[in-house]
Assembly symmetry: C2
Homo-oligomer: 332 residues x 2
Amino acid sequence: MKRITIIKPDDFHIHLRDGAILQSSLADCAPYFARVMVMPNIIPPVASVKTMVSYEKQIRKASDEITPLMTFKLLKSLSGDEIHAMKDGGAIAGKLYPAGSTTNSSDGIKSWKEIRELLHVMSDIGLVLSIHGEDPSVFSLDREKEFIPQILEIAKEFPRLKIVFEHLSSKDGIEAVEKGPENLVGTITVQHLLLTLDDIIGGGLDPHNFCKPVLKRPEDRDYIQKTVLCGNRKFFFGSDSAPHLINNKERAQGSAGCYTSPVALPLLVQFFDKNNKLDLLENFVSRYGADFYGLKVNDEKITLVQKNWIVPEEYSGIKPIFSGKEIKWNIE
Amino acid sequence: MKRITIIKPDDFHIHLRDGAILQSSLADCAPYFARVMVMPNIIPPVASVKTMVSYEKQIRKASDEITPLMTFKLLKSLSGDEIHAMKDGGAIAGKLYPAGSTTNSSDGIKSWKEIRELLHVMSDIGLVLSIHGEDPSVFSLDREKEFIPQILEIAKEFPRLKIVFEHLSSKDGIEAVEKGPENLVGTITVQHLLLTLDDIIGGGLDPHNFCKPVLKRPEDRDYIQKTVLCGNRKFFFGSDSAPHLINNKERAQGSAGCYTSPVALPLLVQFFDKNNKLDLLENFVSRYGADFYGLKVNDEKITLVQKNWIVPEEYSGIKPIFSGKEIKWNIE
């Protein structure tokens, strides 16, 4: 039986939500990830050190198997002092959501210039800027591409600020990071790596593959694959896994977000194996992200083996991508 | 109050289905349309004169207010004699569904060459060829474009065969008809005229705007609008209205098809009025289609008036497009 042992991975972009869903979200990712970087777009948002510390406590209470890496939401109303306090309170990144770009983002940023002073502070004290890079004012398939100039402007104005272009979904987005300055990197999700828009609209409508940025054309997906298979350290894994209850997905105005925590790592191993690049897996899921964030890699190891399993239809009322389908790898 | 009286329209592409839905489908379109051309992709398909005559009886029994124009489904297994019988039984068109292109099309045609002999017969006896013009083997947004060569081949090989490129959704499709031979025309739906892919995936996921061919980019929608506002007689109205129950739309693998019968004409009047082209409405909905099919225009008239109304959330368990939104025109 084929097997591989790697440093236990990190997920540098996850939605855990709160309340009842939090516990099952953590249980589903704990077998696969040592640390998860927790997105702050809950309601009310994680936008003060007080909320952040309380959210972290809630997470740690719900699971002692996984280490949360905390982030906060960049709001126009934040002060430089609050940013300092957030850093002291353990935050590793501040997240920029363009207003209206995704779930719970109506309080987001209209232009990065609104938060120029905050970015100065972040750059000075070494907090990472995490960006949902979409311009929601244009056609959905162009939103990532149209946001690129803004990201490049920020990267140019703040050459020491570490910037992550999150959940890259297009050839244009990937190229912007490839060719962009050293301080700009990108995360890649398993759905953008493996699926296309046709997995939402190509047959019957599939709400469980619907996410923001929306899945793109086959050429985009192929370029993302090619990039990941090159082993460029500017690209690492962030799942953007989002636990929406089935009845919030299968409805009119269904929620955006794919649930991937329990399938992402098995799908990634399968992908690297199929392309004879298993040797690149560890860098993508366990090293490049930690290196970028200036964190030590995890001590723990994980062993993955080639064995067929069928993805369950649901996990605690939430349907993952690839439900009902076979995956050829899993943890031992 | 602004008003306009026109010849009562025809809908040259409708799905009425059967059973319980049939009656409400007819009731919803009767106020707006005198005749509807009935698509044959029910189960089992309308692919024999016997089935067709029985389906027509069922329709006439369910409503005496509307005249069905019958079609049959082109299957590889049909004979020339059956095509003749279909014509004698009242059919005005045969419908070509590429296998796997849309609802109930798994028994469709892989290549038009499979039915070359049947097309000869149809050409000889004056039956119209109606085509769902999509190549389902390619990426969804390219399916219409990639099917164009096949349509042009058919039109070239059968210069006397009248051909309809149904529910045009792209600039490429429209241009193919514009520049194509005289025997090739196209129908246009109200959703492809007014909406884009963003009305499905741009905000929350909207299953009620999901149809095949899928809605395209704003540039495509704009080109369709421009075409309709030119008053070219090669383009006329066919709604492709499809009554899918709400729980067949709001689910995993949701059904494709927009329900537009009760809103299409009000939306069209509003569209032509907004563009100061009310004078072109009658041609688009009541004349060009009848002319192409060699039918007399309807005797009955219909008066539309400018008055605001809110589209109901549902009609007999089926949610129309624009539900909950205001339309500024309706029948008197």
